[in-house]
């Protein structure tokens, strides 16, 4: 009978089967239970979603009819249930079958019950009301004598059980902890774990029983109890310290292979158990030296044992490393763990690489040097084709962000942000960028630009704290009022620029932020007034303009902002600035009126309100070009020589791929400020790099045979700045190599040219110096800087001209005044300094005032530890003729840092038959070793970020200096700082301490205060320069 009913009911799906050409043979074998198969096949054969829907609906209605038919047997019900599950899995609503699932679990035999329970666990969730109907069934089955029934009940309880019904089954389950079968004990433990998760209070009294489970003779039961312990220890580690020993013992046994072989997984003993235990030990040992000490041994052993290279051993290793870094540190273990991380990071397997990054991210704060070790890998991962790897790398970088690398890191984050479309990622990244920007922003302009990017990408989804924090920052500002003004001013400027771009739509929240900022424009009154007085179109808020553009109306529509910004109270006002302007500057009311008509012509205002961007590269470049004189012929020759010499070097350098170099540069800018030693080495790199790079640029230039100004070339090569730092890296690698070549270079040089070409410094600087000092010392107009001592003035001038052959090449350089250092009745010794690019050249002029010859004149300089003094040719003169002047040249190079030092020496000569010795000394200061550093604005920006040592100071200026260019002039002249760029009220300067330690200066004028901000790779240099600058500024 029932069979007939079944046949009728299943006829429908059967029809589909017959229509399947491919389903033939299989369908022929279709047995009672294959109606699911029919359904599956039917669905697979369909081509459209619509057809599938139709088929499933048919199926469901047939199922509905079947299950509610009184004649349906439990066996059929079971079969129906499977099809229900299938339909539900495909995403169709089969909720009318839920109650039947419970019924099946209640009434069926074992097989049917099993499917019933399965259906219940798949269909229902914890708080589903139908679940209550299941409780009685569960209680009954728990009491069953049939093992399978008990297990099924425990299985379902471990998955879903209504919280409020726990007391009904708890005693039964507790009993099961003593069951003779381990499978029952195990499932009972897991059921209790479930209870612990949903209602921890209800199982508090059985904690002691958990301990018994932990000591269970069956590994499975013990392992199951670890789930509970892990959770409990996570919540309260101090409560379970006494168990540390037990966990250690268990882990030791597992690691030592004491478990039954059944638990091996790919010949690794119970990896899941190991990982669970490692995790527990990590929690217990955190910040607890005594507990940690108990675990050191077993951790060491785990590391040692996990040397096979199956994936699962890597899983264990990873957990080991995690634990080792979580607990109280032990250097020996940390070392091993670090090595392990290295294995992960360097692995070609992408999964392991990912985990390596994850591990690095975890340990980075404790051990930043580890990231430094792997910096190149990290850089590679940053450009990895797999976005997941990229993201993990950004996460890592986020953890190491500091004031020095923030711009680079945030830039990378923004790049990723622009690529991704996942909302969760955007929200997350935007939050991080905003957080970093607030913490470490190097300057206002950057901060505002970054926040603009944040708002325009993430405006619609970001956490509301971000705009409100930002606005609070703008509103409350810092202690320094001028700083505040700058910040706000810049914000407004940037919004103007953004809103000037046509057809770009910004997120609502961004517009809100803009309009809020605009609404508080009163601080701009001064500017506006000035602008108006110069006939510039009056101001009108730009959000308003955009609104107008969008709505094609002149009328303001404040609705979008109405809710959040009504408090700022500008609703109804045409322009907050205009209003305050009207009140503040009575004379301008007429102009204020003009704004209605002129409102859309904003070009004038933009100009008035300053710069387009923070680092206008183009401008600075063209500026430099016009200043640079054509290259003197001789420098081109020198350059060729240079090129010949460095050819070998270059060959190597050029083989390095460009990418490689870019990566290395990136590395140096990213990992700056991580650990003290490393910082220095990294910065050192950058220095030597820039140095070497320039040589290369020269080569490039001569190779291509271009005749354009060298400066230009250098500039442009510099703008691909990347070259700077990796060259340094390379430099370090081949230091030895290069050292040798250097010697060779030098010797070659001295053969080919005079000492002049020995220069290590970039040609650029030579050229620039040419332009600074006039080509010849002897030009009339140049004499004024030459204040020779009164008595000898005339003769010196003459004598110098005599000596000009010797000094020929030196004349291109800046030099000091001639100072008499000692004299007697026959001779006078004067001295001056020539600030050559690569060294300080000291010239001692010995003038024979008498009418007699001086014989075997020797000038010697006492050696000092701070300097390396090299005698130039012609320093020992057999004869100084009567009434003549001879020059002694010494090149001085700094060996050790110092501030002031005397250089002493003596002059020994024979006159008639007497030997006379004259001693003298001259003071050298560190300033004598400061040279201009010619770099582009862009390079300045990048170098700036890479320097760790900075000093800031405000200096009051005299009125005459109030304009920035005039304030910078003395710095340029007296301290030999190179002025890179002047942008509005900010100036960028750079110099280097020979041989090549750069120092950057950023200065900004407000009113009569000049804010100086030095940064360098050398810790003492900024202080020294600051002091010198102060002296110069206050002195002038």
């Amino acid at each position: 009978m029932s069979d007939i009913v079944e046949k009728t009911l299943t006829a429908l799906p059967g029809l589909f089967l017959q229509n399947q050409p491919g389903g033939g043979p299989a369908a022929a074998k279709a047995s009672f239970s294959s109606r699911l198969g029919g359904l599956v096949r039917g669905i697979t054969a369909l081509t459209s979603k619509h057809e599938e829907e139709k088929l499933i609906q048919q199926e469901l209605s047939s199922l509905k009819a079947t299950v509610s038919a009184p004649t349906t047997t439990l066996k059929m019900m079971k079969e129906c249930m499977v099809r229900f599950i299938y339909c539900e899995m495909l995403g169709y609503d089969a909720s009318f079958g839920y109650i039947h699932a419970i019924k099946l679990a209640q009434q069926g035999n074992l097989l049917e019950k099993r499917v019933g329970y399965l259906a219940v666990s798949l269909f229902l969730h914890e708080s589903h009301e139908l679940l209550l109907l299941l409780v009685n069934t569960v209680v009954k089955d728990l009491q069953s004598t049939n093992l399978v029934e008990v297990c099924m009940a425990l299985t379902v309880v471990s998955q879903i059980f209504p919280r409020e019904m726990i007391p009904a089954v708890l005693p039964l389950i507790e009993d099961k902890l003593q069951h003779s079968k381990e499978i029952v004990r195990r499932k009972a433990v897991l059921a209790l774990y479930k209870f612990y998760l949903i209602a921890p209070n209800q199982v508090q009294h059985i904690h002691i029983k958990f301990r018994r489970a932990l000591c269970d003779r069956d590994v499975g039961v013990m392992a199951a109890s670890l789930h509970i312990y892990l959770r409990m220890i996570k919540e309260n580690p101090s409560g379970y310290k006494d168990l540390t020993g037990s966990f250690v013992t268990i882990l030791k046994q597992v690691v030592g292979g004491k478990l039954p072989v059944d638990f091996n997984y790919h010949s690794v003993p119970a990896p899941w158990l190991q990982i669970q235990l490692l995790r527990i030990l990590g929690l217990l040992g955190k910040d607890d030296q005594r507990t940690s000490e108990l675990t050191y041994d077993v951790l060491d052993e785990s590391l040692r044992r996990a040397e096979l290279s199956h994936n699962v051993t890597y899983a264990i290793l990873f957990e080991c490393v995690h634990t080792i870094y979580s607990i109280y540190p032990k250097s020996e273990l940390l070392e091993k763990a670090a090595k392990c991380i290295g294995k992960f990071v360097l692995s070609p397997k992408i999964n392991l690489k990912y985990l390596g990054l994850k591990a690095l991210t975890y340990v980075i704060q404790q051990d930043p040097t580890l990231a430094l070790q792997h910096q190149m890998t990290i850089i590679e991962c940053l450009d990895h084709p797999d976005p997941i790897i990229k993201r993990e790398t950004l996460e890592l970088l986020y953890r190491i962000t500091n004031a020095q690398n923030i711009t680079v890191i945030v830039q990378k984050m923004l790049e990723y942000l622009h690529q991704t479309k996942e909302e969760y990622v955007i929200v997350n990244l935007v939050g991080k960028i905003a957080e970093l920007a607030e913490k470490y922003a190097p300057d206002n302009a950057w901060f505002i630009q970054t926040m603009n990017a944040v708002f325009s990408v993430g405006g619609d989804v970001m956490h509301p704290d971000i705009p409100s924090n930002f606005l609070r920052l703008l509103a409350e500002g810092f202690d320094d009022e001028t700083e505040n003004q700058q910040l706000r001013l810049y914000a407004v400027q940037s919004y103007l620029t953004l809103l000037d771009v046509e057809n770009v739509f910004y997120p609502q929240r961004f517009l809100q932020v803009m309009s809020w900022v605009d609404a508080s424009l009163s601080f701009l009154d001064g500017f506006v007034a000035e602008g108006l007085s110069q006939g510039v179109a009056p101001y009108k808020p730009h959000h308003q303009r955009q609104e107008e553009k969008l709505s094609q109306e002149k009328v303001l529509n404040f609705e979008p902002y109405g809710l959040s910004f009504s408090s700022s109270g500008f609703t109804g006002r045409q322009s907050p600035a205009g209003v305050s302007l009207g009140s503040d500057i009575s004379g301008n009311s007429a102009e204020t009126g003009l704004k209605e008509t002129n409102s859309l012509k904003m070009e004038g205002i933009k100009k008035l309100w300053g710069k387009e961007g923070y680092l206008p590269k183009k401008e600075s470049k063209t500026g430099d070009e016009s200043e640079t004189p054509p290259i003197p012929q001789e420098s081109i020759i020198m350059e060729n020589v240079d090129q010949a010499i460095t050819k070998k070097d270059q060959a190597q350098v050029l083989t390095q791929s460009k990418e490689e170099k870019e990566k290395q540069l990136l590395a140096s800018s990213l990992f700056v400020g991580l650990g003290t030693d490393s910082t220095i080495s990294l910065l050192g790199k950058a220095d030597t790099a820039s140095h070497k790079f320039r040589k290369k640029s020269k080569v490039k230039e001569t190779k291509s045979g271009e005749t354009t100004s060298i400066h230009n070339i250098t500039c442009s090569s510099f703008s691909s700045l990347s070259n700077v730092a990796y060259e340094g890296h390379y430099y370090l690698n081949t230091l030895q190599d290069r050292g040798d070549k250097e010697i060779k270079t030098n010797s070659l040089n001295s053969e080919l040219l005079d000492s002049e070409s020995l220069t290590e410094l970039p040609l650029v600087e030579k050229l620039s110096n040419c332009s600074l000092s006039t080509p010849s010392l002897f030009d009339d107009n140049n004499m004024e800087i030459f204040h020779p001592p009164q008595s000898t003035a005339a003769s010196v001038a003459k004598e110098i001209s005599l000596a000009s052959s010797l000094l020929e090449e030196t004349t291109d350089y800046m030099h000091s005044n001639l100072i008499e250092v000692c004299n007697n009745e026959t001779v006078s010794v004067s001295s001056y300094k020539i600030w050559k690019d690569d060294c300080l050249l000291m010239i001692w002029s010995v003038t024979n005032k008498s009418g007699l010859e001086l014989k075997s004149a020797i000038l010697e300089i006492f050696p000092t530890e701070n300097f390396k003094i090299t005698e130039q040719p012609g320093c020992c003169l057999p004869v100084i003729e009567a009434e003549s002047t001879k020059n002694f040249q010494y090149s001085v190079q700094m060996e050790k840092s110092f501030t002031e030092e005397n250089l002493s020496g003596f002059l020994n000569y024979h006159m008639v038959d007497n030997s006379v010795q004259l001693e003298f000394s001259i003071n050298l200061s560190l300033l004598d070793f400061i040279r201009p550093l010619k770099i582009s604005t862009e390079d300045f920006g990048k170098l700036w970020l890479s320097f760790a040592n900075d000093v800031k100071q405000n200096v009051k200026m005299s009125e005459s200096q109030a304009a920035l260019p005039s304030a910078l002039k003395p710095l340029q002249q007296k301290l030999r700082l190179h002025v890179i760029d002047v942008i509005g009220n900010e100036g960028l300067l750079a110099c280097q301490l020979l041989p090549s330690i750069p120092c950057l200066l950023h200065c900004r004028v407000h009113a009569d205060v000049l804010a100086l901000w030095f940064r360098s790779s050398c810790p003492t240099l900024p202080d020294y320069l600051l002091y010198q600058c102060q002296k110069v500024i206050e002195g002038s």
Binding site: M152, N351, P385, I388
Partner: protein, 158 residues
């Protein structure tokens, strides 16, 4: 925890956290899309909301689990692998069709292996013993082979 595979058809789903049907559908759709979009050389982990997704492809089937950030990704991969091993042992060289037509068995095996989102029993022998015990009572169900190839299946856990 969530396991799934290519072409967007779900073969098995198991949810270990309570979610509404709507959420489940949405999550499944999103994950299937994301995982299928990934290239073979990419890593087996991906971040999704605040969870990590660990997936692995076996023939035409993708197995996919969602874990928390502090969980161990590699061992999760091994969980998947162990589950496949169990299926393989039970069905004898398991293929996607076995799972499609006997998905309730696949669920039973899963329930013996993972319970409440945690590994219940790692010994292969013990898991299969438990299944067999229950199976002894069950009649043999003919496992049909089908010529219709299914390229995609999904198994969703949690």
């Amino acid at each position: 925890m969530l396991l799934f595979s290519r072409q967007g058809k779900l073969r098995l789903q198991k949810w270990y956290v309570p979610l509404s049907d709507k959420e489940k559908k949405k999550i499944t759709r999103e994950l299937v899309q994301t995982v299928l979009a990934r290239k073979p050389k990419m890593c087996s982990f991906l971040e999704w909301r605040d969870l990590k997704i660990v997936y692995k492809r076996y023939a035409s089937l993708y197995f996919c689990c969602a874990i928390e950030d502090q969980d161990n990704e590699l061992i999760t991969l091994e969980i998947i692998h162990r589950y496949v091993e169990l299926l393989d042992k039970y069905f004898g060289s398991v293929c996607e069709l076995d799972i499609i037509f006997n998905f309730e068995k696949a669920y039973f095996i899963l329930d013996e292996f993972l319970l409440g989102g945690e590994v219940q029993e790692t010994s292969k022998k013990n898991v299969l013993k438990a299944i067999e015990q229950a199976d002894l009572l069950q009649e043999a169900i003919a496992c049909e082979a089908s010529v219709i190839t299914l390229t995609v299946s999904q198994i969703t856990l949690k």
